[in-house]
């Protein structure tokens, strides 16, 4: 039994979908960002970084989306969420997810989380203005060089797909038109049709 700590609209959605895809036995607990619950003493005892997602397992807490996703794939091999028997193919899955967390998510975060890296309102406004350009560049690269289609890694659905889907839900707010990225738009549409995604998005998973 796992427990996923999440907040709506965050990257925790990727781990949530992966748990549902894996057929895992799990519960979820919503952390209320409006009351800053992520920085409450109770939650900091779970994740001292004050972020979501965090996955409680029988042997301790796990944080960071790429690590949680790979863990779910390895824990439920029958769900075939990653090429577990091929180190290079597995590394390519990890490489994609690492790019999402270290470059794409970070580019997005400069829209409303500028105070993580600067102190002046003028800097926050400057960062915010650049987000359509940086997110646009990230997704142009994903569209042209990374997304093999129909899924990120080609014919096989993997843990890259819910993560890409999750970050792509931010594009409209980031000023990037998904319609300008045909492969991504098709990926987004396919993802929304999956039973696991519907279950999670309607609060039934």
């Amino acid at each position: 039994m796992f427990k996923l700590y999440f907040a709506p609209g965050t990257c925790a959605l990727a781990s949530h979908i992966a748990l549902a895809e894996a057929g895992a036995d799990y519960t979820v607990e919503r952390i209320d960002f409006k009351t800053n619950q992520q920085n409450s003493p109770d939650y900091l005892a779970i994740n001292p970084k004050g972020r979501v997602p965090a996955l409680a397992t029988e042997r301790g807490i796990l944080t960071e989306t790429p690590a949680i996703l790979a863990f779910i794939a390895q824990s439920f091999p029958n769900a075939k969420l990653a090429p577990l028997d091929d180190a290079l193919a597995f590394a390519q899955v990890q490489s994609f997810n690492s790019y999402l967390c270290s470059t794409v998510h970070v580019a997005h975060a400069h829209r409303v989380r500028g105070s993580r890296w600067a102190s002046e309102e003028t800097s926050f406004a400057d960062m915010k203005r650049k987000v359509p350009e940086t997110m646009g560049a990230c997704f142009a690269l994903i569209e042209s060089k990374m997304l093999r289609g129909p899924w990120v890694m080609g014919e096989q659905y993997t843990i890259c797909d819910p993560y890409l889907y999750t970050i792509a839900t931010w594009l409209e707010g980031d000023g990037v038109e998904i319609a300008t990225l045909p492969k991504l738009a098709e990926h987004h549409r396919r993802m929304a049709e999956r039973a696991a995604v519907k279950k999670v998005l309607t609060g039934q998973g």
Copy 2:
């Protein structure tokens, strides 16, 4: 046979050390950042992201430090660079490395790479001023909650160690005194004593 594309002073050092620790058969090729070689057509054909490291394998190119490190650990199981038979312990290794790439490296990058996320000189200066605080906070968390000692994961040396060592070499320039972090300082000293690290740093590996 692997080939690692690297530049001095970058996070590519972590993969370089891991290759040496693994006893891998590899060569290295230095990419000259002073002439912007990372954005040359030849290098962009290797890594369209225009970054290092990139690891050329017989089956294609691999990028992103956490993915390369896990790939090295899985490709050389006898080197015992990760707990490969324990999905949760492996995920904890990955969680640490994911934190380094998505939070710590990113905090550091705001010192001289502000133009990735903003456009105004005043914003770059603001970002630069905040780096001692953000890197200090990251390493305070690493010191108090993550670094088990003597190695990151405890008694077993893993792929977390060369990555932490690499990023810690940036601390002085980032305005964080390593002496204020006793566990980290000891880790840094131990790392510098390892044969693989000496070999790489003296250009013999």
